[in-house]
Amino acid sequence: MSASVSASASSNFPSDARSGPLRRLSQLRAYTQNHFSSQSSSSSSSTSNTNSQQPIARRHTFSSRVSWFSPASSASTGTESAHPPVGTNNPAPCPDSEPSSSTLARYSSVLFPGYRGFDLDLRSQNRSSESSTSPPSSHEPRRTQTQGRMARLRGLSQTPDTRPEVDTTPASAPTNLQNGLLDCPDPVTNENSSSSPRPKQKATIRFFPHQDSHGNSRPSLPFIPISRTLPSESSVIKVGRYSERDGLPVANPTEPSDAPVGFKSKVVSRKHCEFLYLNGQWHIKDVGSSSGTFLNHMRLSQPNMASRLYTVKDGDIVQLGIDFRGGEEMIFRCVRIRIECNRSWQQQPNEFKYGPHTESLIKNLGKGETADYSGCRECSICLGSVLRPYQCLFMAACAHVWHYKCVSRLIHTPDYPMFQCPNCRAYTDLSAEVDDSNDYEEVEQKPTSTEEQRDSSQDRRSETRTPQLETNPTPEASNSSQDSVDALPNSLSAAAGLTHDVGTMHLNENRTSRESDDETPRVANPSPVVTGSIGIPVPTASALQCRQAQLRADTPVRSESSDDNPLTPRNDSGPLVFDGRASMS
């Protein structure tokens, strides 16, 4: 993390005199910067644009400063490759083929042996974003865009020594990159393949505290339910002892994250175990803990020995360590985790939305003519219809509905914010952040549906963009030139109609804040990510810093999203931010 460069985004885009890698780097950097600032800038309406356009636009948008680290990220790549399931760096000829490929995983996996790969990635991202802009295909791309953003960020952070160059290599570079470099066959392909399924099915795992119901055992360490959705298939969730240095743990980031999970217990080793997702299946592995990892009461390995991979199923109980000194003190208690994974709602977040889903459920509320809706016809507590005048209703994530008055005592329990559905026993984290990514999916599922949806989606895009984008009116001017780039954002914003709205900006900021939340965990534990063999190579401290820098720029709104939720302290980025600055200086 030697040097960090902050570039004012919109300000400098000098011609890049540099050739080759430097130029590319600069381009990338500019690119990434733009992305950062614009975040979801993907939205440009013109479909056929060349990559170059967008990046430029981003560039302009880039108001925030990005700090870079050129840390050990490159090293991480090697480790990555070690992992089988992860689609790592295979050269992929066309980034364009799969817009979705822009997902984080890709980026992470695509490390930079050369900047080139990076460029390619960016390009693919651009494309994806572009595609998203085109009205018909819009839904998927958006999603990818968001992912892409994160990836980009990481990528930025990773790009090792680009910063100085970035400053120097200004505007012209991006176009070059996109045109020439991007076109080059890229490492991205594998990533694409791996990433493509992702949008449909994200690997999500949730940890709930488990108390052994068979009375003899002592209570285990209480903790807030934790959920993680892997940003990439190659991601690994590291579990270990919580450390103050890591900053506040982020229990439930809204967006994909492989932030380490920390428990405040001394019987948990600093590096205790890891969760990874291979071939559609979650696995656990002890990474040499001293007091053991137990899967359904079976110890995975000898002390200080790493274990092989064990598959983890929904409902499995994982215990970390053994009570020490009788576990009377909280700090000596073992951790018992009930795993929730591979639930259908996780695989298809929309299930409730468009299957027997929330929308239709609400429409059929109280009618319950089909079995699908039985859960919303009658309150299973009082056995009365849920449709009674002046009764507030409570609908759980499993789509079961009760009168609030009836179910309230199941909500306000010591376990809050965990809520167990009295009908189907599914657990819900009532403090979980609202996941806006579903909106994207909505769009995907009902692409043609209504103008409204489209508008909303566009709004979203616009949200992500930075205000600066709005400047240029020419929407359709697509290819090559920077001008065109500028135009794109405009068009997008115009479509949204929110361009000049302050509201948009707010939205944008929110978005960023969300992202920041996701990223924060990383920030908290930068080192593990970098070092971990499996870990995503990219998102090291540098990325975090970039993010944070961004955040700073965007700060105002950021708090909104996270404020309500005690589980996701906004603060988490704080100390790290400072670190980043220090390093920058």
């Binding site: 119901s213 299973s380 507590i381 009082c382 056995l383 009365g384 008055k405 009836c406 005592r409 199941l410 009295p422 009908n423 026993r425």
Partner: protein, 152 residues
């Protein structure tokens, strides 16, 4: 709310009782104590017997499970062979109970248990052993007890 739900369930059960089950309040003024008459299901050694089952509902019902006990002596692995006649039902355990379960389901489950005892979940280990290892003898004794206690 609890009593309202109970009244509702009682009305349902009285109106359309499940097969072989009749329900009434033990005491008209106490809606939490039920008297259930359960006919020994066909194909079980309890056939032709009529068993009194006492259903007791906690005030926290439906958040807490009801408890079920046999007022009639019965030779069964899952019913304690004492004057309490407590019945062990998995679904009635605190951690298994779901507020959405209804009394009708509990009673039907209990009746099903007469057809298929669950020796692995037994409260009377000896009877469970016998049920598993010497089914004929078990049937014989259960029939005898049924004749003796449940056919008065």
């Amino acid at each position: 709310m609890g009593s309202k739900r109970i009244a509702k369930e009682l009305a349902e059960l009285t109106e359309s009782p499940p097969e072989g089950i009749t329900v009434e309040l033990a005491n008209e003024s106490d809606i939490y104590q039920w008297k259930v008459y359960m006919d020994g299901p066909e194909g079980s050694p309890y056939h032709n017997g009529r068993f009194l089952v006492k259903l007791s509902l906690p005030t926290e019902y439906p958040f807490k499970p009801p408890s079920v006990s046999f007022g009639t002596k019965i030779y069964h692995p899952n019913v304690t062979n004492d004057d309490k006649g407590s019945m062990c039902l998995g679904m009635l355990r605190a951690d298994e109970w779901k507020p959405s379960s209804k009394i009708a389901a509990v009673l039907e489950f209990a009746r099903q248990l007469l057809v298929e005892p669950m020796p692995d979940d037994a409260v009377e280990g000896r009877i469970a052993e016998q049920y598993k290892n010497d089914r004929a003898r078990y049937d014989e004794i259960a029939r005898e007890w049924t004749r003796k206690y449940a056919m008065a």
